[in-house]
Symmetry: C2
Subunit: 527 residues, 2 copies
């Protein structure tokens, strides 16, 4: 609830300010000299809301489009494998899985780490001005460049240039973020209210700077070691990525060994690496929306680029018949609609889940990242499932890969739900608590995709010939399952009730009364 | 102000509901039978906020990525023109300008029209449930398919299949939207508060359905005429696109001829096509953010796909030296950073502008669409400016095209500002009113890019040899101009003051007092 409340307060505060400014009367004249303290006037400070939304959009897109090199490389592989007449997929897929996909997943992880750092920073700094906006844009530019330097590093692992570029990028990002922190602390009205009214601002400043500078300093050492013994650099970089988890483990071990070592309770609010550190729910949603939206559109982009037949080709190959030419693309349309439906419904499940989440924690954010990484893999699944001739062994494996991707995307969503249930009093809406009225329905929604994916996977193991169009048709029919779900859940509950509580009539009356009661507050709000 | 207030109320309302639900005590038991009226309980209705954000992201991405076929086709053209040894660009560019870019702009326009219809619909329906969310996803799927059918229609203008597909898509979208309207009016608690408390709900329903169904019906006739005389279909489709403007003109003419013909004032709130009809400012911002974000990332995507050298290529061509290989890509990095800075700063100007806008109108939305269409052209500019050998005639023309794109993107932003100023009492924050303290600074911000673009354009006309790296360096130095701008504006004002009001000392004192005064309310809010 905390995050969401904060945002509202924030909005309201902004509005109050605007109104205050308006009611203050006539604007001052053009030719008056603005004093230097003008910087501190509310007119030059702004709500950070839109800046953050834009940053979320940028980072989510850059994290996801890195699947395209994987998907497009695959197409070339396919062509050669088609020339060599099928069967070669197993090896090429294994090669693909070990290198390209690993690079994609690592890129996704690195970009989301940068995003998490960005969230932390702007949970401390809640208002911006022009200067901070420009600094943030510079930071964004380098973050979008990060995947390129990483793929350079992955392609030439033994060349130190890749390491140097990557470390350089990270160091500059760290420096810019430090400048942002220093700038914000020199203008305290930009800061979070809790820090603003706190007495030990300098303590906060040093703590935050220490946490921010940790990564660039590690990268600095990594770049120096790359001249001497470059394998060590990779070890250092791996430590950088898993640093929060390592420090978390160390702290946990220390607390077990020595006893509870409490830092000052103040510092626990920001830049802790505890798994239940709150994460801005709004930003998690915005980031997820970005990923789902770009994945859904990457599919149609491929269609628009590849599947508009050329005028001359149609005349030569199909005798001028456009319908004949488009019939060749039939499977691709089906694949497109199927994949869009899958992405759309995974978004829908995510949307339903976060509707009931009142507070997002860091651990839930991590699980969400994993889920999104698999969602980002869907364009690859799309490429695979329509590229192969019907009834080939390759098609079967392509469908299996799709199932695995969908399964993991769904299972991590389910994991978020399970984690949220562990602490349901704090993180979930009462409707979906363990015995809440929406609990079963939510569970059914979340379980639908993993179950369907698992079912399809085993079906492909049994049926040796499973054609992709049937798979895509199945994908398209899932939404009707969602519409039926509420009815099905209700029937299931009715059956359970019939078995366990035979005196249902009295119960029903009680429930109806209660339903009337619950409808009341809503109407009260509306009218 | 209205929109923004609405959103806050909306958030607060949602929160109140949640709290209400929580305070209502223990959740109901799992095994109770949910009555059919459960559909009406608040737990199944949701704030539409995130659904709209997701839709905005989808539509903005799909509108913008359509530049990629243009930009990528261009690359092939370039290669042939490089083979033919320069000079051929003029013709190929003219061909490009007349066909591909026209298709891109039309696609952008059509998609934004669909988006505008979506905004209108969800200004009436402010709450959603699962069923509406799924219907909306279906609608989104067809909207993302729209550009493909349009490009099919544009590639085969004489084949009726393209027309039929396009019209079919539009008709299905219209049908789904009608179903959404009917569904929402059958559950009035989903509707806008104004309609909910209004007595003539049926009048609203019929009015909205009439407006929504107008377009599909026209498309239905267009698809029928395509069998008889397909040119007529295009006329009909053109009418569909410009229908609001035509009906607006007709109404204006009628009002001039007969006198003021007022409809019932109630109906004026929604689905009017007046230029000052309010448009959700939040959604305009979200859509713009999406376009800017995707444009900024398309650039790095191209770099990631094309500019990671192959291991074998580096060994063969560059003797294993990665630095030498990357030096060949030097201009592309410069082009990337230059373009990112341009996109980032155009976003920054847009952000500053909409920070001061309190109410967005339909006409401002239209100008914003034009500005965004040119922003979407920036990846093309990027492709052009780094593809040509130095000091060629083609390079010069590429830079000129870039300047034209940046100029129009900036000038339409300026136009939004001018339109807002016309009605500044309603649409602008007092700080930027004609004699407000931020007025000159805002104007300077908005004028910077058009001026720089125009200056560069004329510079290229004078200097026959103008190299792209200098152009990109210029792009990168513009942000410093933004930082300097406040200082420059202040110096300019000081000079003006020295000329017009020599008794500056008194004035300065007054201003300082006033500045103190303005700082007060802000501090009051903070503490």
């Amino acid at each position: 609830m905390g995050e969401s409340d904060d945002i509202i307060e924030h909005h309201v505060e902004e509005e109050m300010e605007k109104k205050g400014a308006r009611s203050r009367g006539a604007p001052s004249s053009l030719l008056e000299s603005p004093s230097p303290s003008d910087w501190e006037a509310p007119s030059s400070t702004q709500s950070s809301h839109r800046l953050l939304a834009f940053s979320d959009a940028l980072i989510s897109i850059i994290a996801t489009v890195m699947i395209l090199p994987v998907a497009h490389t695959k197409v070339e592989d396919n062509e050669t494998s088609l020339l060599l007449l099928l069967q070669e997929l197993r090896q090429s897929v294994q090669l693909l899985l070990t290198t390209k996909i690993a690079v994609y997943l690592m890129t996704f992880l690195i970009v989301t780490l940068a995003w998490a750092a960005h969230i932390r920073l702007f949970q401390v700094i809640v208002r911006i001005d022009d200067c901070l906006a420009l600094l943030n844009l510079a930071c964004m530019m380098l973050i979008t460049f990060l995947p390129y330097t990483f793929s350079l590093m992955a392609t030439f692992p033994e060349n130190i240039l890749g390491i140097l570029l990557f470390c350089g990028c990270v160091m500059v990002i760290g420096l810019i973020q430090s400048v942002i922190v220093l700038y914000a602390f020199s203008r305290p009205f930009l800061l979070n209210e809790q820090i603003q009214i706190s007495e030990n601002q300098t303590f906060y400043k040093h703590h935050i700077l220490k946490v921010i500078m940790r990564v660039p300093i590690m990268c600095f050492f990594a770049s120096i070691f790359s001249f001497i013994f470059f394998q060590l650099s990779y070890v250092l970089l791996a430590i950088v990525i898993f640093l929060p988890y390592i420090s978390q483990c160390l702290r946990w071990c220390r607390s077990k060994a020595i006893g509870q070592v409490e830092e000052t309770p103040d510092s626990m609010l920001f830049y802790t690496y505890l798994p239940n550190e709150p994460l801005s729910k709004e930003r998690v949603e915005a980031f997820s929306d970005g990923v789902y939206a770009i994945v859904a559109t990457l599919l149609i982009l491929d269609i628009c680029e590849d599947n508009v037949p050329d005028l001359t080709v149609v005349q030569k190959q199909y005798g001028g018949s456009l319908i004949a030419a488009l019939q060749d693309y039939g499977p691709e349309y089906l694949a497109y609609f199927g994949s869009f439906v899958t992405v759309g419904l995974l978004w829908f499940v995510h949307h339903s889940l976060f509707l009931h989440v009142t507070k997002a924690t860091r651990f839930m954010g991590l699980l969400n990242t994993f889920s999104l990484a698999f969602v980002g893999g869907l364009p690859l699944a799309y490429q695979l499932t329509h590229e192969f001739p019907d009834n080939s062994r390759n098609e079967l494996e392509a469908i299996q890969i799709s199932c695995v991707i969908v399964f993991f995307a769904g299972i991590f969503q389910l994991a978020i739900w399970v984690v949220a249930l562990y602490n349901e009093q704090e993180t979930l809406h009462p409707y979906v608590w363990y015995d809440g009225r929406e609990h079963v329905f939510m569970l059914a929604k979340l379980a639908l995709y993993p179950c369907v994916a698992l079912g399809t996977f085993f079906l492909t193991c049994i049926l040796s010939k499973f054609s992709a169009p049937i798979f895509h048709l199945m994908e398209i029919t899932v939404p009707f399952a969602f519409l039926l779900l509420r009815v099905l859940v209700r029937i299931g509950l009715a059956l359970l009730r019939m078995i366990f509580c035979p005196n249902q009539h009295n119960l029903r009356r009680v429930v109806e009364e209660e339903a009337d009661e619950t409808r009341m507050p809503f109407n009260a709000v509306v009218t």
